[in-house]
Amino acid sequence: MKAATEAKLWYWQRVSAMLLAVCVAIHLGGIIYAVHGGLSAAQILGRTHGNVLFGVFYGVFVLACAVHVPIGIANVADEMLGWRREYSVLTALLFSALIAVMGLRAVYGVVIA
């Protein structure tokens, strides 16, 4: 694979990791808050429904995952399974699409539907 592509993949994985570090901290904080408050599923959905900030936050979270995770998976497939780089990157792209679709569908379900 071209050196420029590898360098860009590294860059995007690094940038998405920075985003994820913030997102995961807020996400965990939110979970702990909800559990301590003893909120039911219905009460949680009542608060998330129509909440633009919540939707934007989890939308960004999902997209950061869709960038970060597949790059790592491509590297693992490459090194541990001995796949050709072209195949591992193609598989990673499909996995990225899967994460994005499933994640955004979940955000849609919790915020809009």
Binding site: M1, A3, A4, E6, A7, L9, W10, D78, E79, R85
Partner: protein
Amino acid sequence: MSNLQVRVWRGKDQGRFATYEVPRAASQTVLDVVTYIQRQLDPTLSYRFACRVGMCGSCAMTVNGVARWTCRTHVAKVAKNGELEIAPLSNLKVIKDLVTDMSEFFDKWARALGRFKGSRTRHDDFALVKPDSAQRAAADAAIECIGCGVCYASCDVVAWRKEFLGPAALNRAWSLANDVRDAQQGERLRAVAGDAGCHSCHTQGSCSERCPKKIEPTAGIAGLKRLAAAAAMRGEL
């Protein structure tokens, strides 16, 4: 002082450990032990050394499972229960006994464009490099490599990815990437980026942990990743 029980690798990639009994001495180094075996016990033993003072990088071997420069490694520091196991460096082909073929190791330095190429001639004035500049400091931190191969033998990525340039070649590239006089920066970044270069490094740090000169190739490789990423995003890679 009691005797040392020393197991030494004999053969090529296939071979066996032979055991020798070597008298213990004060301030004895591992290289002293190997030299004693060859000169007093078995003249057919092959090993490599030159300066004996930690400058030439010739005498690195695997001592009790860890790659070390043997001329500066005291037996007292590494012997366990009066026993030593001495083997050739890992990740390199064995020529005979403790001598490895270093050609792949140095070929990779060449592939990483590890040689200086200036743009000035003898008619130009000297280049002025401020000693306290950030780039000079970064080059300084990487420049004392003696090419012993300890980092290369300690690197897991080299073990599973044969084309990986390795810590020493990338460290050399990093020192030149910080040399403001060098005229082939873009070409070098293209040579060291990608899946055979700096982007394969897992940042495990074995090279930095074991470098006898206390160089940190891991930090240099991270620097190359940053330079390569910046160049790629500018469309210059």
